[in-house]
Point group: C2
Chain length 214, copies 2
Amino acid sequence: MASHLTYIRDPAAIYAKSFETIRAEADLSRFPKGMDALVIRLIHACGMVDLASDIAFSDGAFEAGQAALASGAPVLVDAEMVAHGIIRRLLPKDNEVICLLNDPRVRPLAGEIGNTRSAAQVDLWGDRLEGAVVAIGNAPTALFRLLELIAAGGRKPAIILGFPVGFVGAAESKESLIGDSSRIPFIAVRGRRGGSAMAAAAVNALAGGLGAND
Amino acid sequence: MASHLTYIRDPAAIYAKSFETIRAEADLSRFPKGMDALVIRLIHACGMVDLASDIAFSDGAFEAGQAALASGAPVLVDAEMVAHGIIRRLLPKDNEVICLLNDPRVRPLAGEIGNTRSAAQVDLWGDRLEGAVVAIGNAPTALFRLLELIAAGGRKPAIILGFPVGFVGAAESKESLIGDSSRIPFIAVRGRRGGSAMAAAAVNALAGGLGAND
């Protein structure tokens, strides 16, 4: 029989209780308004309240990202999972969400530049990079490549959301972002943690604060 | 200038070094062959070696999942992000990957059964559930609903990959799965951690072991 499972089934109640639990357990005291909501969404996406202590951000980054979306800037992402985690109806200007990882030009270009497909796609962002919201949720090489192109005089995004994950280059690429001399606004998680759910959650927070998803 | 960034750019080398680091740092001793590769992929997806200690699985679950895929079973997932994290070319029989969250029937059905859209989609899996690989990477309510339907005499999947994430019902739904009297093979992560990247990584490990992605 099925009646032995009791659980909350109302999506609004689930959201409310989740955010309430996070506010009760996480130390959000160092985050200004806006950033606190974004950090709550990040924690909500991964289930770990201690993530708060690893979040790095530049002054005004939240507002810069919000303003970019409000002006209709595109969202450039490194993985299809990030693209599919972005809640489209929260985007204020029906902003374009662009992932070029599976673009047919990417594989040959990766061979040409001697880098991953994730990194090669960054070369194809071209003019769209100027003033864009960039969300990296998977590949350290994509973030490294972006910083390289910017350092070489390339176009500059409005904000970089840095959430590559893993054991090779993830921590290092995010430290490069945090210490980058180009001073592009950023929000990132230090260390190995990250992922497409966090990258998408950051975009969703810029777009809609703590508005519910369902 | 751009030359200040030195990082590994070769995808095969990145995979090899990632897996090597995980093997060196994670305690994989309690996992039988197959499961060890799956746990490595889970850790690779989230950047946390201590995840190993939270993995629960039933005897033979890895083989059951592998056999289901080899027989052409569909993969039923609760979120588009899970669907887009599955590496299609690893699937041995070009297995169908199905996410019904955005099916137009889901919203009215959710209202009818008084549950989330994530849970309501499970009701639409119907006959396809029999012998399927189910991967839950987001919603505790989807896993609870699945267990309810099975307990009520519904169709049985070949394996349940339980990776719902978060603060409301995630830990509880996975404990329900682990203790479920229907004895369906399962692999899950205990507690609040989880997510679509882990759910997809589990499917990818069943499909292709530690084969590289790029």
